[in-house]
Amino acid sequence: MRYFIQRVLFYAATAWAAITINFFIPRLMPGDPVQSLINRYQGQLSTEAIDSLRVLFGLDNETSLWRQYLDYWGNLFNGDLGTSFTYFPTGVSDIISQSMPWTLTLMGLTTVISFLLGTGLGILAGWRRGSWLDSMLPVTTFFAAIPYFWLGLIAIAVFAVQWQWFPASGGYSNEFVPSWDLDFIGSALYHGVLPGVTIIISSIAGWILGMRNMMVSVTAEDYVLVAQAKGLSERRVMFSYAARNAILPNISNFALSLGFIVGGTLLVEMVFSYPGIGFVLYQGVSAKDYPLMQGVFLFITLAVLAANLVADIVYLLLDPRTRREG
């Protein structure tokens, strides 16, 4: 229990740090960014948008920095992340809540598949060290070294442009309206295959390697030797004795690598024009839509923190050593 409270406090502190960083980034910018944005948009910005920009960059001199900070928190608690000016007059929080389900589904499914598949292969590779699975390692390393977005580009070139098996972009065909009927879900799944496979291929090497290395360390432990000496079946020793202990660091690693996976997923969404958060971030960045970018960053960070907390709780349930102290 003490461990649990510690973790919750830590994530609360991290969330505070992320929000504060988010508050200060625009204020540390030199010069007058608002003026350059007004020039860039050549009169297409409404006075309301300009006002909100002035507030965002802290250029509105009448209020003190402390006051601005408090206001910022107040807005945040009301779910007000400012107004986007590429999607004017939609609020940033509305845009995020529209694109969030797409990202969560895509990421959730691919992460689970890649974790299960990678860990399974890692168990085998670590158990049968020196087998053909080991010689596969350099191949997966090569795939892991490829940027997600480039693999996505290749996938589009081969499977969408050359062979036209899968659609090149979007999250569903235009003939459907997002709803919960079968046709729409089918179309969404069909559009999700290429991005999903891209993410799985790029992220699986990390799991295989981590699991293999842990398995190699664990198989030399005495209790594995004892289990084998007792004459237990190889399967039982492999899964119930060795893998069961080797998987723990892989789970805590899972939490830490989430941030990287999120980054990769964002890129895959950009390449596939997938209607998720990453694509929104891309549009925000190309249009210099600062409120939108900041909102997306904040949302991604908080989501990663929440996922980390979940991973910690899972760890707490799996590893009795963390419970003993409390």
Partner: protein, 350 residues
């Protein structure tokens, strides 16, 4: 007890043949291949500009040509030579990657070793700061910071990446320093009145070298990928050639729809090759630290491995593998929240 076992492990096998073992790191096939590829890229970075057959930004009449003898990687929509763009772009990629990794490693060593060695309140503060940086997703953070900056040259980008990605190294180094701090030789140095800084620089750092090196290379991979991503998204200054810029132009000119595969394939392959080379070097370092991870080595060819059982020596050579099994990482599962120090670099996470 774990400490003594580790100490014995480090002392015993090396003592017999210290000279030969110094180069064992290089004899590892993975490391050799990795260093070889990296060397080629380094040469490209140094001489690329001189070797490039064309000016990378010069337009010509050969529009969107597929690869040929004149243009080994083909040309772009405006007739620029892609081979020259890749050659010239290598310097930017390596420069940013190495510079960012140097910044991140120096910060990581300073923060990690200080936290691990000093302990107490200082440790608590420093390790919470690095944990915070570890949990905040770094790529979105880098994207946000750079897109707010008015100027995004190579140096600025290296600085941003370096300042945001030191946390992993600091965490690993802190854990390793903690385990070294209690060793006898450190205690002896302290008892003989050596100053704290002398102990850190001359007693601790040499023993942390493999960990630092592996963290450095992991950060290079991460920095290269982040930098190319920034260029690809059009956030970094697109007038500087690097592989990401090539991909940016390919994407914004619809190279995919025009079936111009040569426009984006070479840049991606270069990134992947560079990343693989660096990962291979890192595997070599990992296996150097933790001999159990070796899958093909001299020792093992003479020893038939049967998982879980004692290695059997076939031709009477001493089984060098056996006593070293107690290397530092063997004890990894006993530290629940810390993953084993080096075996997972940043490269495979991204």
């Amino acid at each position: 007890m774990a400490l003594q076992a580790t100490e014995a492990a480090i002392a015993s096998p090396e003592a017999a043949a210290p000279r030969r073992d110094r180069f064992r790191f290089l004899r590892n096939r993975k490391t050799a291949i990795g260093l070889g590829i990296l060397g080629v890229f380094l040469l490209m970075a140094i001489f690329g500009e001189a070797l490039a057959p064309y000016d990378p930004s010069a337009r010509s009449d050969d529009l969107l040509q597929s690869p040929s003898w004149d243009h080994p990687f083909g040309t772009t929509q405006t007739g620029e030579d892609i081979f020259s763009q890749i050659l010239v772009g290598t310097r930017g990629v390596l420069l940013v990657g190495l510079l960012a990794a140097v910044i991140a490693t120096v910060l990581g060593v300073l923060i990690g070793v200080t936290a691990g060695y000093l302990g107490g309140v200082g440790d608590d503060v420093l390790s919470s700061v690095s944990n915070v940086f570890l949990v905040i997703p770094s790529l979105p953070l880098i994207i946000i910071i750079t897109s707010f900056l008015p100027e995004t040259g190579d140096l600025i980008i290296a600085l941003v990446i370096g300042l945001t990605s030191w946390a992993w190294g600091a965490r690993v180094l802190r854990a390793q320093t903690l385990s070294l701090r209690g060793r006898d030789y450190v205690q002896a140095a302290r008892a003989s009145g050596e100053s704290t800084w002398r102990i850190i620089v001359f007693e601790l750092l040499p023993n942390l070298t493999p960990v630092i090196a592996s963290g450095f290379i992991g950060t290079v991979i991460f920095a290269v990928l982040s930098e190319i991503t920034l260029a690809f998204m059009g956030i970094a200054d697109i007038s500087n050639w690097n592989w990401g810029t090539v991909l940016f132009w390919a994407q914004s000119n619809q190279a995919l729809a025009q079936d111009a595969w040569w426009w984006f394939v070479p840049a991606g392959l270069c990134i992947a090759l560079l990343g693989t080379a660096l990962s291979l070097i890192n595997f070599g370092i990992d296996e150097f630290i933790n001999p159990r991870l070796r899958s093909q080595g001299r020792a093992e060819r003479s020893v038939k491995m049967r998982v879980g059982f004692t290695p059997v020596v076939r031709d009477g050579r001493p089984a060098t593998g056996a006593p070293r099994h107690a290397a530092p990482h063997g004890t990894a599962p006993s530290e629940p929240t810390d993953p084993p120090a080096v075996s997972k670099g940043k490269g495979n996470l991204r």
